[in-house]
């Protein structure tokens, strides 16, 4: 077996309560790495077209990659793959915490959970004994994620669902420690199986091809990360909420259900404000991560809990016209404990408020008013009253109540907190990302709106190229499985210290903006391992990985996801943005929104797809994508 892999897949059937171990396929690992890539390959192969996402035929696949368990910083993440009940296409989530570490210690690369249990069940997996015990979870059913993990104890690593998953909220997530695989409703699929928790244990050691070089390099890198202006300073000090003032200045923070891109008091939900007003306890991290981007906050009546991320602060804050952090902290805690995606939740609440404003729904919710929001979040998780409606997300709500022009989703997945009207590459990324309107499948906005070296976000130059390169890279990273935040470290301190007003800064951005094909060519070169992803993979597996290899693997995964979506009935027509994003402007100098129609044909051409967004056969052949 290739080094870095445990070499085993655990296949569990909840219907007849059986399990088996089988070897990981080396060729698939070479082509798809692991994590999201390997998981998508399995999903494609294991399921016929058209299955019910909440039915027994939808497998729930927990997948690690070659870097998990290696002690590389930011490598304790697992991917979850299934058919999404929210979008009907590829469902995937990624989660920190400690579960990935536990799976690898148990000698398991991938856990497939098939079928459904008739009653609530939990699994205890012991990798040393090669055993899986099916236990009644009746007493845990109904408990929040925190109480569930407390009841399961500290001896094992857990992945659990809260009430939102049990009640099939279409944007329910899966929780490990204080982190959540939030997007696309993977928690609802776990709930449909009546699987409350998976706990793993084991004492196996990961085999690394060149342990000495890996250790030396990782030691050096930890120091680099700790002194890096983003990883060691900004993220460590302010968490992801440290970006609030930047997106607000850029006019891209969702405000009033994305009607606006700026809120005059957004500063009150920023990481700086949180830090400055004593609302932060200790920093928190996934295991072995030197960045510690999480932070604890105090919520009245609950105590110290993990605080909100940027997405949550923006979408439960300015998006609802709320700028009181106490509310944001409370709602974030509710979402985490009930086990649901706070991005989809924030967008859904904003949509319900706008429907109320326009007289299309009597939700009792209003912009700028916290009244009733906490109760509504509880109702959503338990599918009570109107909460049952909101539990289906904005796409389905807009079909029932109207308001499709301002239902903020792509392919059914609610939009993240970067308004694409001020970030054109991010808009192309939202429109084309296979799991829907998500920001962490490329994070293109970093190159045009938020990072230290940004090109004009509203010109058309490079706005089709950046998403392609970034989506490919994100696919590879999510298959190792690493935290995407490691990519921030690629930009050195010297660049962060460049004055945007300087001639040098303007020259670099001018040239970058015009680099076009050269940019794509450079990223495809297979010269030698440069970044830490490439170095780590090379040291761990003993095979050489370069930027070009990762682009190729990522492109392969992206195309396989695309083929899955096409098989399930999605088309190029789903590569779009909400009407509000295309036709309403938030910038005084423009009278329309995102110019997607001008960018999509170029994006398709670069991808090697036809005009309808279908991968050409020669593209699939080149990438060795079997369909």
């Amino acid at each position: 077996m290739i080094k870095g892999y445990a070499g085993r897949i655990l296949d569990v059937d909840l219907g007849n309560r059986s399990f088996s171990f089988r070897p990981l396929d080396e060729e698939t690992a070479r082509l798809y790495l692991g994590g999201k890539g390997y998981g998508t390959r399995l999903l494609y192969d294991l399921t016929p077209p058209g299955i019910d996402p909440l039915g027994p035929a939808n497998p729930l696949i927990f997948a690690t990659g070659p870097l998990n368990g290696s002690l590389a910083p930011q490598s304790n993440r697992f991917a979850v793959i299934c058919k999404s009940p929210l979008t009907g296409g590829i469902g995937s989530g990624a989660c920190g915490g400690s579960f990935a570490f536990g799976l690898k210690k148990a000698g398991i690369d991938i856990l497939i959970v098939r079928n459904q249990s008739a009653t609530p069940v939990r699994l205890e997996v012991d990798g040393d004994r090669d055993s899986v015990i099916f236990l009644d979870a009746g007493e845990l059913w109904g408990l929040g994620a925190r109480a569930t993990q407390a009841a399961l104890g500290k001896g094992r690593n857990h992945a659990v669902i809260g009430p939102a998953g049990e009640n099939l909220v279409l944007y329910a997530g899966i929780v490990s420690d204080e982190r959540i695989a939030g997007r696309t409703g993977v928690g609802a699929v776990m709930g449909s199986k009546r699987l409350k928790a998976v706990s793993v244990t084991g004492t196996r050691r990961l085999e690394v091809d060149d342990q000495e070089k890996f250790n030396d390099y990782t030691k050096w890198l930890r120091k680099l990360f700790r002194s890096h202006p983003v990883l060691g300073e900004k993220l460590r000090r302010y968490g992801t909420m440290g970006i609030v003032n930047t997106t607000n200045a850029r006019n891209i923070i969702p405000t009033r259900n994305f009607k606006l891109g700026h809120h005059p008091d957004a500063m009150a939900v920023s990481g700086e404000y949180l830090e400055d007003h004593g609302l932060v306890g200790v920093k928190s991290s996934c295991i072995h991560c030197p960045v510690a981007c999480g932070r604890e906050v105090t919520v009245e009546g609950v105590g110290r809990v993990k605080g909100p991320e940027y997405e949550t602060a923006a979408l439960l804050g300015p998006n609802l016209e709320i700028t009181d952090l106490r509310w944001v902290n409370e709602w974030n805690e509710l979402a985490d404990d009930l086990g649901m995606d706070s991005i989809s939740l924030g967008v859904t609440l904003g949509f319900a408020m706008e429907l109320q404003e326009k007289g299309l729904l009597q939700s009792g919710l209003a912009f700028g008013d916290a009244t009733g929001v906490s109760a509504m979040i509880q109702d959503i998780a338990h599918r009570r009253g109107l909460g049952n409606d909101l539990a289906d997300g904005v796409k389905r709500m807009s079909v029932r109540h109207g308001g499709q022009a301002y239902a903020m989703h792509v392919k059914g997945l609610e939009l993240s907190a970067y308004d694409p009207r001020g970030s054109y590459a991010q808009g192309v990324e939202y429109a084309t990302t296979n799991r829907g309107g998500c920001h962490v499948q490329g994070a293109s906005m970093y190159f045009e709106s938020t990072g230290p070296l940004t090109i004009d976000p509203q010109s058309l130059r490079l706005k089709a190229e950046i998403p392609v390169v970034q989506q490919n890279l994100a696919c590879a990273i999510n298959s190792m499985v690493l935290c995407i935040f490691t990519t921030y470290g690629m930009i050195p301190r010297q660049v962060h210290e460049l004055d945007p007003k300087s001639r040098l800064y303007r020259t670099i951005t001018y040239l970058f903006e015009r680099s076009g094909p050269m940019y794509r060519l450079i990223t495809k070169l297979k010269l030698r391992p440069l970044t830490w992803f490439e170095q780590w993979l090379t040291f761990v597996t003993g095979q050489t990985f370069t930027s070009g290899h990762l682009q190729e693997i990522g492109e392969r995964i992206f195309n396989l996801e695309r083929m899955y979506n096409l098989r399930e009935g999605l088309t190029g027509a789903d590569d779009t943005l909400p009407h509000r994003m295309l036709h309403e402007s938030t910038f005084p100098h423009l009278d329309s929104g995102h110019p997607l129609d001008q960018l999509l044909p170029t994006y398709y051409r670069i991808r090697g797809w036809d005009a309808q967004g279908v991968p050409l056969q020669r593209t699939l052949d080149r990438l060795k994508v079997r369909t």
């Binding site: 900004k234 992801t240 997106t247 200045a249 990072g451 962060h496 910038f587």
Partner: protein, 87 residues
């Protein structure tokens, strides 16, 4: 006739206000000078806190040269921009 100047967190903390309202329609160059004036004898603090920031008008990054000397419009919003990373 006025323009709003939104400060970075550090600037706001130093001045004790989140934003400034400037009468008339000054140019960006004048906005910078007027904002710096608010720091009085602590002008060096302003210089330090704005060293690696860009200027943004209504969400759009403004270049150097002529743009700095063009009068702003009534209701314009000027922000100081710092790079950041989120997720």
């Amino acid at each position: 006739m006025s323009v709003t100047v939104e400060l970075t967190y550090d600037l706001a903390k130093a001045l004790g206000v989140r934003r400034l309202e400037l009468e008339g329609t000054p140019t960006l160059r004048q906005v910078l000078a007027l904002t710096r004036d608010r720091f009085g004898a602590e002008g060096a603090t302003f210089d330090k806190l704005t060293r690696v920031t860009a200027l943004v008008v209504n969400g759009v990054l403004v270049g150097q040269g002529r743009a700095q000397n063009t009068p702003l419009l009534d209701g314009d919003r000027v922000s100081f921009l710092k790079a950041a990373a989120g997720g």
